[in-house]
């Protein structure tokens, strides 16, 4: 049942912002500011920074990130479906989620068989 008013949501967001501001605003106002160029340089264990950070590295790391993203979002979709399914368990809901899970399961099997993550 859709909530008739969105008031609780607005209050929730507003209180969140207040708490965050409570920490940041006094710090910004009262904190002394003594900036110098050395302070703005990146911290490298007490040495001058060497080399530039954007170096082309192995695409495997990007691969791991993408795989994580896929399966994490999958779990994110499961939660609302579960809450909704518990109130009104219908067969059609099961079929849809079954289809969703089989597709992702196939992807998982493919990744494991391809030994993509086996590069330690």
């Amino acid at each position: 049942m859709p909530a008739d008013t969105y008031l609780p949501l607005i209050v929730f967001i507003f209180v969140g912002l207040i708490v965050v501001a409570m920490f940041y605003v006094p710090a910004i106002l009262m904190g002394p500011k003594n900036d110098n160029d050395v302070k703005l340089e990146p911290f490298e264990c007490g040495n001058e920074p060497v080399g530039e950070p954007t170096v082309p590295f192995n695409p495997r790391f990007y691969q791991v990130a993408i795989l994580f993203l896929v399966f994490d979002v999958e779990i994110a979709f499961l939660y609302p479906w579960l809450v909704y399914y518990r109130e009104k368990p219908t067969v059609w809901g099961l079929v849809i989620m079954g289809l969703f899970l089989t597709v992702l399961g196939a992807a998982l099997i493919y990744v494991v068989r391809k030994r993509v993550l086996r590069w330690a």
Binding site: N34, D35, N36, D37, V38, K39
Partner: protein, 189 residues
């Protein structure tokens, strides 16, 4: 420190031996520096001597004692199988202070030779990367030489060095005396 370690080496490199003594039980051979690599390889490979570990490598500066060759590079060898030790000393003159490197024979010599170069200025020709190990590259001179004064500092940075931005001008306090210049007492009570 049995004699067994010293005799084979003395027999094989008789021409190289300058003198020999066993002060306080430490078998020592003073030899010419020319063939040090061959001597060390012999010490390590010969089964009777079997010095498979270079325990210590250092140098001594005899400037004050008025010897004709100023430096002396000292090798302490040890055998983990025979359990005996040998000390080899190479007199090295001041001009052209150069000794052949033994990093090929034992791997532990690498850093020790770099330290002797850093502290005494004796170069080890054939060393993979002979650079300063304990001091910073900008340091001029070799501090453990007797003629290097103990308190001659070569600071990399001091308080009045300008940091870009806030510290540009000379710092407002009185001159940088021995660090005791602002002992302000805080009257807290």
């Amino acid at each position: 420190m049995s004699k067994a370690a010293l005799e084979p080496v003395k027999k094989k490199f008789a021409s190289e031996v300058i003198s020999e003594h066993a002060q306080h039980g430490d078998e020592t051979l003073v030899m010419k520096k020319a063939k040090i690599q061959a001597i060390c390889e012999f010490c390590r490979d010969d089964p009777a001597v079997a010095m498979d570990m270079l325990s210590d490598l250092t140098a001594v500066d005899y400037l004050m004692q008025g010897r004709e060759t100023r430096f002396e590079v000292v090798y302490h060898l040890y055998s983990t199988t025979r359990r005996h030790r040998l000390r080899i000393k190479l007199p090295v003159g001041e001009d052209g202070a150069e000794v052949a490197s033994v990093t090929g024979v034992w791997k532990s010599a690498n850093w020790m030779e770099r330290e002797v170069w850093d502290m005494y200025g004796i170069t080890f020709e054939g060393h993979p990367d002979l650079r300063r190990i304990l001091l910073y590259e900008e340091f001029v001179g070799h501090p453990l030489r007797k003629d290097y004064p103990i308190a001659k500092r070569q600071p990399l940075t001091r308080r009045e060095d300008p940091v870009e931005g806030i510290w540009e001008q000379k710092h407002i306090l009185t001159g940088p005396s021995a660090g005791a210049h602002f002992r302000g007492s805080y009257d807290i009570e």
